[in-house]
Subunit: 107 residues, 3 copies
């Protein structure tokens, strides 16, 4: 089977939150309903720390877990620029990372 493919430029975005921030659903809903991004994936880390220096680990007995969560998405560069600007009011500075990538699409 041969499928003709070409690549288009996209911007990858990773947003670093923790479960305790309660922002995950708000951000997801915004990306889904309003920004209509191509696709979003949410990952839970098993450990980590942020600028506070506090470790967030699933090994702790404390079940009110505050594990790291990453919201990842990609879309066209201009669209991502607007989305990130919109998110700036919702998410603390220093938590949104982005970089240029290529997406395989149908030729």
């Amino acid at each position: 089977m041969t499928t003709k493919v070409k690549t288009i430029d996209v911007t990858m975005v990773r947003i670093y939150l923790t479960e305790a921030e309660k922002m995950i659903d708000t951000v997801l809903k915004r990306l889904h309903d309003w920004e209509k991004v191509r696709g979003v994936t949410v990952f839970r880390g098993i450990s980590g720390f942020g600028r506070s220096g506090n470790m967030h680990s699933s090994k702790l007995l404390d079940m009110s877990l505050n594990l790291p969560v990453v919201i990842e998405f990609f879309d066209e560069p201009d669209k991502v620029d607007s989305i990130v600007e919109h998110l700036a009011g919702m998410i603390e500075p220093g938590h949104i990372v982005s970089w240029a990538a290529r997406l395989q699409v149908e030729a």
Copy 2:
């Protein structure tokens, strides 16, 4: 301990699937047996949505889970180009993202 290191160019690849697609093992087997890539890691997301707009979330009671899964690998740029071309027949367009990176190797 000092270890001499240098970096080589690699291409990072992330392939976005869902558990329900049953493609994970096929893609892994291909990358392992045939393409002989340097290394592959598979991650399961806890939530997400694709172009369909349907949310895939581990919070749903529905245990016939259809969570997002990401297959990640990296290798030399030319090799990755061929691999991605080979995968194009197996994976829907719009699901393979790649970008340039550097790998630490022995000098």
Copy 3:
């Protein structure tokens, strides 16, 4: 709510280990206590393989699991260069990947 944002250059790093290597806590402690990186997230994969070609999968009954683990962090490019050099003595070559990205910060 409008928040003025600008971006600064950062380097993203992903370090590929397995649970059996017992290096995770050592690397995390070093990044936390010594290198004082901005933030670190640790992810556990559900399957994968490295250069050995051995599959590491959570489907195996074998509970002495050896699942893939990724330690991810980002920081300013110069700082990351030093950190990666320091880590070179602790981590086998071929397991540290990095790339250029941008971080949203307060303007």
